[in-house]
């Protein structure tokens, strides 16, 4: 099977969807020059109307994307998680609310792709991992692909979805490479990963570890070490946070009796908090140990290479948390 990078998978998904449906178009800052690596060559193929370099006006062009989606277009908007703050009003007040507010009249097939920097000295202004905020807002789908396969398959599903979808591209995942099947080798001739189906990254028996975004990689590293100590963890990657595949998590916890959630976002009101609270309510009687969150420290992200790594979860912190649940 072909091996490709995460960004190549995103680029392939983008091109395929643009070829398939001419309502699909790409919009963002400097996408013609493909500064984030997902849009090289697209302008030459699809032209001015479908590959749009915008002025530096996130609230404005997010809104334009949304408005165009109301009348038949299917924009893919490229940005960085930290720039969401600037365009927040359009995302929350319009994209998330319009359909419901208007009694179902609005259809909003907008896909945002946002890069999340991680442990690379981007400092507080470029290090937001704000998927929890969009999870908490009814009306948005929240997607965190952690490998090239999912990146391609979830991205294609997002573009076809008739709801606003946000794809969070985690710095850890972005640097990954992996197998992505060629279309001709796939049953339907294309790769589509459904929303709301978690992936069991690794089966195990002693403790369930849910990894969010880059948290999956830390969990996998931890698993190898724990295995040598005779501890078997089951790693679950929810892949989509909205819709969330609660059932796979609950079933796993019913089996293992233990839960650790690894989330590289700030701890408070996080996806990890949410998953903890679901399990504490719905799988309580299966639990044999405290539910542990392994998340980012509740401080702004510092620049210094001496400090930044201390903010985030590490395999060691995952290992300690798992051991803590083992008593």
């Amino acid at each position: 099977m072909p091996i490709m990078t995460y960004m190549a998978a995103i680029a392939e998904a983008t091109r395929e969807e643009m070829e398939r449906d001419e309502a699909v178009y790409l919009m963002g800052e400097d996408i013609r020059a493909s500064i984030y690596g997902a849009s090289a060559g697209l302008h030459a193929i699809f032209g001015d109307d479908r590959v749009i370099d915008t002025p530096l006006s996130e609230n404005g062009f997010f809104g334009a994307a949304i408005g165009s989606s109301l009348v038949g277009q299917r924009p893919i908007v490229e940005t960085v998680t930290s720039f969401f703050w600037v365009g927040m009003d359009q995302m929350i007040s319009q994209a998330a609310k319009m359909r419901y507010m208007f009694g179902g009249q609005a259809t909003l097939p907008v896909t945002w792709r946002a890069r999340m920097f991680y442990a690379r000295g981007a400092a507080a202004h470029h290090s937001d991992r704000n998927y929890n905020i969009f999870m908490s807002t009814p009306g948005l789908k929240v997607i965190c692909p952690t490998n090239p396969y999912d990146a391609k398959g979830l991205m294609k599903t997002a573009v076809r979805d008739n709801n606003p979808c946000l794809i969070f591209e985690d710095g850890i995942a972005i640097s990954s490479r992996g197998e992505v099947p060629a279309n001709e080798d796939l049953p339907g001739g294309e790769l589509l990963v459904p929303f709301g189906e978690a992936r069991i990254v690794r089966a195990g028996t002693d403790c369930t570890v849910v990894g969010i975004a880059g948290g999956v990689a830390h969990a996998e590293d931890a698993a190898k070490v724990l295995e040598q100590e005779g501890i078997s963890i089951e790693i679950i990657d929810p892949r989509t946070l909205v819709p969330l595949d609660k059932q796979t998590i609950l079933t796993s916890v019913e089996k293992t009796g233990r839960l650790v959630v690894v989330d590289p976002a700030h701890e408070v009101c996080s996806a990890a908090s949410e998953i903890s609270s679901i399990v504490a309510q719905e799988a309580f009687w299966s639990l044999q140990a405290p539910i542990m969150k392994v998340a980012a420290e509740q401080v702004n992200v510092p620049y210094s290479p001496a400090l930044e790594p201390l903010v985030y979860p590490t395999p060691e912190r995952v290992i300690n948390a798992v051991k803590h649940t083992m008593g």
Binding site: G63, F102, A106, N162
Partner: protein, 323 residues
């Protein structure tokens, strides 16, 4: 070319529909039947009606919290509007939107926004779609003098100009944002004076004169349809009533004088339009009265419709979230 009689009479009818609709809303609000917020459009009818008269059904509009005039001007049905205000399932939005969120996509009403200026980028996006789809529809957004100070307006006008989009920015300058005079919130004499900053035409028009509004809008629409880009129109107008129903206490605030209100009430857009029709012998005053009577009957029927419309069922709470 001045509009034909049919068009002029339709303007009159739509102004009356708005006026009488709003009067009914004020009544059911004060009786307690209507509980949500509502922002009357009385006094400003010529703006939406004149502007929408220049549009086709396939053109789009978006608006703001002062939200009843725009859809009615675009040809929206009164029954659905009134039912929506009462939170009934026969409303435009099945009762989910209420006064500030009227929308009827079937005739190009992309919705009113309770967040001020937030629909400006939305309308700009609809215009972008026109360009991308190579269709000749245009898009128009109504926003206030207060709204013009939001960054969303700046960003949208800049994009629209750069990309030559078929969008009309229609600023309803009723001179106040709640209690704040536009002289204390807009740093230039007129909102339309900002058009050169986006390299687009800026037009100041008498917002009490439906025909004048129609004419400048038609020009802007023709430019837009011809691919010549956006226009900023500022219609100078006045709201005759309180900012919103339920905000009567603000009346005590000295933000505008009774004399000023009285002065503006003399320029009632409906009276002015009727006078224009009768003085040029386009219509008799009997014809005008008949139009008014029809509008009155329609509003009365809408009230009956709305009252008879059932409330949404509890399970509808969970419907319409996802496509």
């Amino acid at each position: 070319m001045p509009p034909e009689k049919a068009a002029l009479m339709q303007m009159l009818e739509r102004m009356w529909r708005i006026r009488i609709f709003e009067e009914a809303v004020i009544e059911i609000h004060s009786s307690g039947e209507l509980q949500g917020p509502a922002h009357p459009y009385i006094g400003e009818e010529a703006v939406a009606v004149g502007a929408c008269a220049a549009l086709r059904d396939t053109d789009y509009i978006a608006g703001n919290h002062r939200s009843h005039g725009h859809p009615i001007a675009k040809g929206g049905d009164l029954n659905g509007a009134m039912a929506e205000l009462l939170g009934k399932s026969g409303g435009y939005c099945k009762g989910k939107g209420g006064s500030m969120h009227l929308a009827d996509f079937s005739i190009g009403i992309l919705g009113e926004s309770g967040i001020v200026a937030s629909s400006v980028p939305i309308a700009t996006g609809a215009a972008l779609a026109a360009k991308q789809q190579r269709k000749d529809f245009v898009s128009m957004v109504f926003f206030g003098d207060g709204a013009s100070n939001q960054g969303a307006c700046h960003e949208s006008m800049n994009m629209a100009s750069l990309w030559n989009l078929p969008v009309i920015f229609l600023c309803e300058n009723n001179q106040y944002a709640i209690t704040t005079s536009y002289k204390n919130s807009v740093s230039v004499d007129h909102v339309s004076d900002r058009a050169p900053a986006y390299n687009m035409p800026g037009v100041l028009v008498d917002g009490q004169d439906a025909i004048a509004v129609y004419e400048v809008t038609l020009q802007a629409v023709e430019r837009a349809r011809a691919g010549e880009g956006p226009t900023l129109i500022e219609a100078l107008t006045y709201r005759f009533e309180d900012h919103s129903l339920g905000l009567e206490k603000v009346r005590d605030s000295p933000y505008r004088s009774d004399e000023e209100v009285d002065e503006w009430r003399k320029r009632d857009p409906i009276q002015l339009h009727e006078k224009a029709l009768t003085s040029t012998a386009v219509a008799t005053s009997e014809e005008c009265d008949a139009v008014q009577a029809r509008a009155r009957a329609d509003v009365a029927a809408a009230l009956v419709f709305a009252r008879n419309s059932p409330y949404p069922e509890p399970q509808e709470l969970f419907e319409d979230m996802w496509a």
